[in-house]
């Protein structure tokens, strides 16, 4: 084993597994290829064939470069797991953007990369131009990326692509999914996909039915049902039309979508526990408690705040505009049924402030959602209460504090510290984004709103994210979406690995 470690460098291991994941993405491109064939979209078909070829070549090259991994049966260590997860997401962004760029709907390759990162991280901000005339193949691709990104690229690879099981847990954790539903990580990944596929079938059928009832043609209703389900379940925010969810103009459609995105923002561990018969988890779990309390308070505050303005004259329009958008922000979905400028012109600073807070809080850990996560908010909140209780009770009274997440866990300082560190990282990322927006001349409220939206992987926009925004902001928003989705640690590992590599390279040349 020691010999094999000496022979196999970390870069070989990273290269080898990343190559395999490229193959996975190439296989996925077969789906839009088949769809383009069915709908006779020859231009889109050609785009995807070219993209697939490039992806396969990249995969082969990476596997070839890392072939020593296979020859020596090298084992993945934690540092590899984190670095591979972070690197795969960046490489996927570049490769998956090829069909976007070839379609001619992106102003530049950077815009195409922005949209792919937005899709993979389930953010949902769009820079693609003339969205209403996108090919069906490319629309399927966009929504597939959102769906896959929500479950996790590595999770997908563990289920369908790799036979490798040793070290897979390290890859899985690297993608910010750290819950073990069953002892085997491959089994856990399969359960995540099983839950999503069952909901995909049920949700698409319901939306197909509602879509047909509101006047969409059967094939169009089915395609729209697929698009909107994947977007809502993955808490993504993409829609096939520029008008987003407003295109459907239906209370029923919006209500079904709301149910789907709330369920999508729940922890896969929670779904599994409920499906295993632990029904009380829905109300006992710290994450659902945190979500229901914060989302309820946010809805109440915005409803109360806007009811004074008479902006929405009746309960139905108030419910549709306010509750939908607040829940969409809180679950980090980003589907919006008001125009971007309406937030700033009609909702005012009070509404925007509440939206920023809920966007940053986000959904549940190990779900498709972004943000700090309800689990961390709940832990920190309980930690504060624990400290207050400790101060107020006798020093001789030694009590073990707990929180409930699937099972009871001890609430110790280590857990509170870990949660606080991630929350601080999110706030720093959000702060820098806001500062950048203000630097480029956007109003503070707008810059903060958009920054919270990208940091929390939400996708609501106040009008800043357009193809004409400064390149530096596009780059920063890509980084914010990426870091927000991977929850920092993997990205820090990749940065550390890259800096270490550069240092070694420099010292070798200087010696």
């Amino acid at each position: 084993m020691t010999d094999s470690f000496n022979k196999v460098r970390s870069i070989d291991i990273i290269s080898y597994y990343t190559g395999y994941m490229c193959f996975g993405i190439a296989i996925l491109m077969l789906i839009p290829i088949v769809v383009s064939l069915i709908f006779a979209e020859w231009s889109a078909l050609l785009d995807f064939i070219i993209s697939m070829e490039v992806t396969v070549i990249a995969g082969l090259l990476l596997i070839f470069l890392g072939k020593r991994t296979h020859e020596n049966k090298a084992v993945i260590q934690w540092k590899h797991g984190f670095t591979i997860a972070a690197f795969v997401w960046l490489l996927m962004m570049v490769l998956c953007a090829i069909p976007y760029a070839l379609s001619g709907h992106s102003k530049s390759y950077l815009d195409a990369c922005f949209d792919v990162m937005s899709g993979l991280t389930t953010t949902g901000i769009v820079l693609t131009q003339d969205l209403d005339h996108l090919s069906i193949g490319l629309n399927i691709w966009r929504h597939m990326l959102t769906f896959i990104g929500g479950q996790g690229i590595v999770v997908l690879a563990l289920v369908f692509i790799t036979k490798q099981t040793s070290g897979s847990y390290k890859l899985y954790v690297g993608e910010a999914k750290d819950i073990e539903l069953v002892p085997s990580v491959k089994g856990t990944a399969k359960i995540i996909w099983k839950i999503s596929m069952i909901y995909l079938a049920a949700g698409t059928v319901i939306l197909w039915f509602v879509g047909s009832a509101i006047g969409l043609k059967p094939v169009s209703a089915l395609l729209n049902a697929f698009y909107m389900f994947t977007s809502a379940w993955s808490t993504g925010g993409f829609a096939p039309m520029t008008q987003n969810i407003m295109y459907y103009h239906s209370l029923a459609y919006e209500t079904v979508i709301m149910v789907i995105f709330i369920l999508g923002s729940f922890n896969f561990g929670l779904h599994y526990a409920i499906w295993q018969g632990k029904r009380k988890e829905l109300v006992k779990n710290i994450e659902t408690q945190s979500f229901f309390i914060t989302s309820f308070l946010a809805c109440m505050l915005v409803l109360f705040g806007l009811s004074r303005t008479n902006l929405y004259p009746d309960a139905v329009s108030g419910f549709r505009r306010i509750v939908f958008n607040v829940l969409s922000a809180h679950t980090t979905t980003g589907l919006q049924n008001v125009y971007a400028r309406q937030f700033i012109l009609e909702w005012g600073d009070f509404g925007i402030f509440i939206m920023i807070v809920v966007m940053l809080i986000g959904g549940s850990a190990c779900s498709t959602a972004g943000g700090f996560k309800g689990l961390r908010v709940g832990i920190v909140f309980k930690g504060i209460i624990m400290d207050i209780k400790k101060i107020l009770t006798s020093e001789r009274n030694v009590k073990v504090y707990k929180y409930h997440h699937i099972k009871d866990h001890p609430l110790d300082d280590g857990v509170i510290k870990a949660s606080s560190v991630i929350i601080i990282c999110y706030i720093v990322l959000f702060g820098i984004g806001t500062l950048l927006g203000v630097y480029y001349g956007y109003p503070l409220a707008s810059a903060a709103f958009e920054s919270a939206s990208v940091t929390g992987n939400v996708g609501l926009t106040i009008g800043i994210s357009t193809p004409d925004m400064p390149v530096a902001m596009k780059l920063y928003y890509i980084i914010a979406m990426y870091m927000g989705r991977l929850e920092f640690i993997s990205v820090f590992a990749l940065i550390g690995y890259t800096i270490g590599g550069i240092k070694r390279l420099c010292s070798r040349h200087l010696a």
Partner: protein
Amino acid sequence: MKQVVNEFTGLMVELVGTSLYIVLLFFIAMLLMR
């Protein structure tokens, strides 16, 4: 079979629970937006 029933019931619990929450928010919106 028992597993399938459990999973189906779990799915229904989640769908009904979430729908009830949305209905609750709708009623509160009705009260506040009168």
